[in-house]
Amino acid sequence: MHDFVRGKADWAVHGLPLEGRTAGRRRAIEVCREDIPTCGPHEPLGDVLDRVRAGGYEMCVVVNERGIVLGRLQRSSWEKEPESASEDCMQLGPPTTRPDHFIHEVIDRFRKGNLDSLLVTWYGRDEDGGRLVGVLFRADVERVLAENERLPR
């Protein structure tokens, strides 16, 4: 007997074939943006802001050396002193979702929480748990849902 311990979720987020009633519905990993700027906890805010603006975003995810999410820098963070360490300006415990979650379910979280974005982080208790995958924007989810006629309304 062999145990595929990472299971169906791992299979799904890697785009491998599935069957069944809901197979083919879009997941967070398919819609999230993976080019979001990241920074380390000790980087000066001013240096990070230059990089973030160059990328056309207002947000930066603070990660450790393994890519595990520590927090998020967003609009209110940029008002702090440029010499401040990122970790001293970040939002702790930003809202997250998992890469395997269906976007037609995630949209309810956006609506109920009045959220514009959710960090997509890897699940599990192994070394990948909490690792940043990307950022899911509400506007992207709403656009994809509107385009996809097969999803429930």
Binding site: M1, H2, D3, F4, V5, R6, G7, K8, A9, D10, W11, A12, H14, L16, P17, L18, E19, G20, R21, T22, A23, D100, Y123, G124, R125, D126
Partner: protein, 67 residues
């Protein structure tokens, strides 16, 4: 003895003759399962329920994730 295997192992083994067993409840299997998997919910998984499967083929079990 159960050996832990990866996604790549599953792809390689099922391309040969391995049998993939989804151990989630039947309704979850109906919703979605790995292509080609058969459903034997974990609480029913035993020597008797797997007896109809190919005797010499490796058996691979999976559930939803590691949590």
């Amino acid at each position: 003895m159960t050996a832990r295997i990866t996604r790549e192992d599953v792809q390689r083994m099922t391309a040969e003759d391995a049998v993939l067993i989804d151990t989630l409840p039947e309704n979850e299997y109906t919703e979605e399962h790995i292509a080609g998997a058969v459903n034997i919910p974990l609480r029913k998984l035993d020597r008797q329920t797997t007896a109809h499967l190919a005797k010499d083929a490796p058996l691979i079990v999976y559930c939803y994730d590691t949590d």
